[in-house]
Amino acid sequence: MNGLLRRLDGLATDLAPFIVSLVLIMFSTMPVNVSSIGPVAPNLGLIAVFYWTIYRPDLMPAIAVLPLGLWQDLMNAGPIGLNALTLLIVYGVILFQRVFFRGKTFLIVWWAFGLVAAFASLVFWLAVMAWHLRYVDPAPLAFQFALTLAVFPFLYWVLSLIQRAIARRAQPGFPRVGDASGPRGP
């Protein structure tokens, strides 16, 4: 492989977490028509940002989180910017606390994600009420929180497969700031 191709390959690998997050956010707006679940979909974007911020923060910088949040805002129909704002605030919390998550068992990471997701729901709820200047029933948000927590193990597993694929592609002689301590499978 010559230098240019290798650099392109490296770029594609580096962009993988961002692109995976974009696609997951798009998935969040797909119709889930099996009734009784209702129109609420899990917040897959939050899971993706959480995962990459903990295990590959070098590939999920703050500057990537803003477009992800705006993407979520544009895909959805709510007020523009609220998802971006929430995602950035939550990102800050994860980033500055991430040493706590590293190398922990899956159950602890799951539990910690629960706290983060609850915090994200609270921030988003307050932001929506501040925007509309009226009380909004938080029930759908609580439902989304539960749903997000429920799909977390599966998505964690999928993302860890992607992370391993990224790590494999990072060949020796191709310098990259990496995170040697990979996640433990669920």
Partner: protein
């Protein structure tokens, strides 16, 4: 950027560097700025959003099919068990409907004669566009759907979206090949309605629950559970007489309406083109056939 390795002592201690904090704070302020800008400058963002949805709609369309297939399969298995019962019910209903058909034909004929007598300006047939629903849940606090039919299919802002059962919502933004429909249950949905029997007017206001509320009802108006609600056509946005739902719950001032359309599992909707009236308030689309 080099990250310092984790150690047990640094447990739960903020680990960001100063530059990371500055970048993050700047970005949070930028996001806040976008929120403020979005509140003031809705047109620009609405256009941007329509463009984005337009761009991803084909992808979503492809992905929606397997999801719909799985849902259909589950539904199919459920239905198999109820087949006999369903059949008996349908026979009974069929008999009832035949009776109504006879009554309807008689009334229709009578109506035609009376209209001729009065020289009543008839409502023209509407243009109808059938569209597949490819995305719903516009967010936790938004009730909206994305359909694959846009400006080039004749869909325009303000048009009504229906299922065979009743009104679903109205089109709020349109791209070239996709459009977003705000459901009647959404927080921002306000539909002028009228009681089919008593002709009392009201506004149907969504509150993000499955059963939107009636407001601005005349004080002392008689309301009963089971009353049918239809669009009134006031404001000229929606055509008059589209079925919406029935009053499901009356608790003092709080009147809730249960929509006829199954808003939680929409697969296809019909968008009804309704151009501004030319004949007083009776308007309708100019005579035209049905589009696909």
């Amino acid at each position: 950027m080099k990250y310092r390795p984790a150690s047990i002592i640094r447990l739960a201690v903020p680990s960001g560097t100063l530059s990371q904090r500055i970048v993050l704070t700047t970005l949070i302020l930028a996001a806040f700025g976008i929120v403020v800008l979005g509140k003031a400058e809705t047109v620009l963002f609405e256009r941007l959003r329509a463009g984005v949805v337009d761009f991803v709609a084909p992808v979503m369309n492809v992905m929606a099919r397997p999801a719909a297939t799985v849902a259909d399969a589950i539904e199919g298995i459920n239905e198999l068990g109820r087949l006999r019962e369903e059949n008996a019910k349908l026979r009974a209903q069929n008999e009832r409907l035949l009776h109504w058909q006879a009554a309807g034909l008689k009334l229709s004929g009578e109506n035609d004669r009376l209209r001729a007598l009065l020289r009543f300006a008839p409502e023209a047939e509407a243009d109808i566009v059938t569209a597949r629903v490819v995305g719903d849940s516009g967010g936790v606090f938004v009730r909206s759907i994305v359909v694959v039919a846009g400006a080039r299919d004749g869909v325009a802002k303000g048009q009504a979206a229906m299922t065979g059962d009743g009104l679903v919502g109205r089109v709020v933004s349109v791209g070239g090949r996709s459009a977003r429909v705000l459901l009647i249950t959404d927080l921002n949905s306000r539909i002028p309605v009228v009681f089919e029997e008593s002709r009392e007017r009201a506004i149907l206001a969504g509150d993000n629950t499955a059963a939107p509320k009636l407001s601005f009802l005349r004080h002392g108006a008689r309301v009963n559970t089971g009353d049918r609600i239809v669009t009134s056509g006031h404001g000229g946005v929606l055509p008059a007489g589209l079925p919406i739902g029935i009053v499901s719950n009356v608790a003092g001032e709080e009147i809730h309406v249960r929509p006829f359309a199954a808003l939680d599992r929409l697969e296809f909707v019909r968008v009804i083109a309704h151009r501004e009236a030319t004949v007083g308030s009776l308007g309708g689309a100019p005579p035209g056939g049905m589009k696909r």
